[in-house]
Symmetry: C2
Subunit: 146 residues, 2 copies
DNA sequence: CTCCCTGCAAACTATTTGCACCGTC
DNA sequence: GACGGTGCAAATAGTTTGCAGGGAG
C-alpha cells in the first residue's frame, strides 16, 4: 500500500511538471492505474471510474490514458485482437505471461532480457529504445479445470 | 527462389489438406505472402494483388489471411497502433526488430529465447504455447539520416 | 479570468459480415 | 452441379475528434 501511494504521488508530480491539471476524474483514473496489479482494459478503467463519477465519459478515459502514455506513466499492452490493456503500476517495458483462457496477466522475472538487448544492438546496429516480450499459454488454474 | 517455391508449395498442399479451393486470387495472395521478406500489411497485400486481379476486394484479402492464420501458415504481427503486419515466410513465432522511423522489420537470431521459455515454464507453471518478442528502435540507415 | 478538461455525439479506421453471383472441384 | 469463394455494401468495434460549457490554477 505504501508502494501504491508512492506510485500515485510520482504520477501526480509528473503531471504537475508537465502542466497538466489535476481534476477529480483524472485523479480517479490515476489511482486506478497506480493500483492495478491486473492490467485493466480501458473499459475496465471506465467502469471503475464511473463508480465514483457516474457522468464520466469513455472519451475522457481514453484522453487521459493517451496523455499518460505520452509522458510514459502507463505502459500499453497491445494484443492483436483489439484488446488493449494497461499497466500503470510498472510503466516501463517488462515481460508478460498471458493466460489465453482467463486473460490473466502476470509479470515474471527474466533478467536474461538485458543481455539479449545488448547482443541485439551489437548484431543489428539498431539503437534499441523499446521492446515487448509476451508469452501466451495456459495458467495452472485453467489447466486444472480441464 | 527455390526456398520461396518450396514455401508456396507447402502452403498450397496445406490448403488442399484442409479442403480449401485454389482460386486465382487466393493463389496470388499466397504467393505474395510466401515471398514477403518485408512483412507486409493487409493493405500492402491488397495493392499487390490488385496489380494482377484489379477487381479483388479488400474483404477477400482479409478472409484469406484469416484463413491462413487459422491453419498457421501466416504469422500475424500485431502492433498496438492498429498496424497489423504479416509474415507468410516464417509462419512460426520468432523475434522481430522494428524500426520506428521507416517501419522496416528484420528477423534477428536469438537462440537464448528457448532457454527463457523453459525457465518460464518452471517458474510460473504456465503451459507456454506461444510468444511474441519484438524490439523497437532506429535502424542504422535512419540513424545516419539524422 | 484564462485555458485546459470534460462529456456528449459524431467521425474515423480497421476489420467483419450478409448476400447474390461465380467458378473450382 | 454443388458448394465454397468472391466482391460489393453495409455493419461493427475500438478509438478519436469537435465543440460548448464547466472548473482548476
Amino acid at each position: 500500500m505504501v508502494d501504491t501511494e508512492n506510485r500515485l504521488n510520482t504520477m501526480i508530480q509528473k503531471l504537475r511538471e508537465n502542466d497538466y491539471r489535476i481534476t477529480p476524474q483524472r485523479l480517479a483514473i490515476l489511482k486506478i492505474l497506480a493500483v492495478s496489479e491486473n492490467h485493466p482494459s480501458v473499459e475496465k478503467v471506465y467502469e471503475k471510474v464511473k463508480k465514483n463519477f457516474p457522468t464520466t465519459s469513455l472519451a475522457t478515459v481514453y484522453k487521459n490514458i493517451a496523455m499518460l502514455k505520452e509522458i510514459n506513466e502507463v505502459l500499453e499492452l497491445g494484443f492483436g485482437d483489439g484488446s488493449n490493456r494497461y499497466d500503470g503500476n510498472k510503466p516501463y517495458p517488462h515481460p508478460h505471461v498471458v493466460c489465453t483462457e482467463c486473460k490473466k496477466i502476470i509479470d515474471p522475472d527474466l533478467v536474461a532480457l538485458e543481455d539479449m538487448t545488448r547482443e541485439l544492438t551489437r548484431e543489428t546496429g539498431f539503437k534499441i529504445v523499446n521492446h515487448r516480450l509476451d508469452f501466451f499459454g495456459i495458467c495452472p488454474d485453467c489447466q486444472k479445470k480441464k
